[in-house]
Amino acid sequence: MGMVNPGGIPYFILEFGDELVYFSPYTVSLFILALVFTIFAVIARPERQVDIVFGGDAFYAKETSLAELKIRRFMAIACGFASMGAMVTGDLFNFTLFISLVGICNVGIVAAVKNRHVQNAAYQYGIVALSATVPLFGAAALIAATTGTLSMVELWSNAALAVPLVVKALLVLGVMGEGMAPFYAAKAEMFRAPGAPYVIMCSLSSLLIFLRVIEVVLVI
């Protein structure tokens, strides 16, 4: 290993053919965070939303149907696994695929709610996530073409392999597109969807993939 990995020296490297999965101090911390929240999603009960009528005692409790609960929990768990994968993978194309998986799981968590506002928000987010695959896959292919490898381990151990800056920018923009949900949910359009632990999975997975892409861009 010629260059130092800013994420620390890997404890161990799992080998899946051409694709290495490496556990360095940085990736392990993110991996454990994703794991903990996935376990939360497995055991948590969904929140029940209550609308209180202003100036009176009356309130409406919104019920979440069992089918909806199940599909959203499934999506949240899948999202957790996808985030875990994205945290530790050491292959660039594999990384972009995991990011796309996180994106579509986030769409799924939101889209399962049968409410027009929520569905509309999910649709808008979904088309962003789909268009974000263009810079993502484009960046991975450009890296393969300019350096001859997709393995992050190769890229950081061989100083001669330099990835052009614009390609790194494409990669970051693609990850931003896939993980955009929590940013434009500032207006809480998406959080009107009942079921707290699952929606938190959206924000958490986006945060995690942003943190990981920083490491990736520094490493390659």
């Binding site: 053919g17 769409v107 088309i127 789909l130």
Partner: protein, 200 residues
């Protein structure tokens, strides 16, 4: 420095700029979805310019991700617009109403199973689509979901065989081929059979 690779990239980047600019100005949701399909093309172009066998192996996942997300998004679109079910009737052609679709479909499915792998899935899926088109369709979605899940599990198992007990690679290869066969059949047979809310 301007090799063929960079000239190709120039063309693809220009195409990407045009396609994304169209997305900037487009306001209608349905047209955005259609444009997205177009936008996928430059991304495949960038991968293809790699020009190795690896490029082909990367195009397949890239393509599949695009198709999968389009499937989910179009269903979200249908639900959000509240488009009600439009009855899909069997085609009103004499030959199709006889036993022909059944025979042709069985032939296609058998041949697809022999082919196995991605191509086999395509051929067998065509058989199922043809049958659904000719007969109209209703139930069976639970069955398709189950087949999709099983094929996924077969695939994962094959992957672990490849990685951890490589001496059984032939077994793993055939399991992977069967997994993708089931998967592609299911996906193909879904094309055009979902419409509106199932509960209508």
């Amino acid at each position: 420095m301007w090799q063929e690779y960079s000239i190709g990239l120039l063309l693809v980047f220009i195409a990407a700029v045009i396609a994304f600019f169209a997305l900037v100005v487009e306001k209608d949701d349905l047209h955005r979805l259609l444009l997205l399909d177009l936008v996928e093309v430059p991304s495949l172009g960038i991968i293809a310019l790699l020009g190795t066998d690896l490029a082909e192996a990367l195009i397949l996942p890239g393509l599949v991700v695009g198709i999968a997300e389009l499937l989910a998004l179009s269903q979200i679109y249908v639900t959000k617009e509240g488009l009600k079910e439009r009855k899909v009737q069997g085609l009103n052609i004499e030959v199709i109403q006889a036993d022909a679709p059944l025979i042709i479909s069985v032939l296609l499915i058998c041949y697809g199973v022999i082919l196995s792998g991605f191509t086999g899935g395509g051929v067998a899926g065509l058989g199922v689509v043809f049958y659904f088109m000719a007969r109209g369709h209703r139930e069976h979605f639970e069955l398709l979901e189950m087949a999709s899940g099983i094929s996924w599990a077969i695939w994962i198992f094959a992957f672990f065989v490849f990685m951890f007990i490589p001496e059984y690679w032939l077994l793993a290869l055939f399991m992977a081929a069967i997994g993708i066969l089931l998967k592609v059949i299911v996906k193909m047979s879904l094309v055009g059979t979902m419409w509106g809310d199932g509960n209508g």
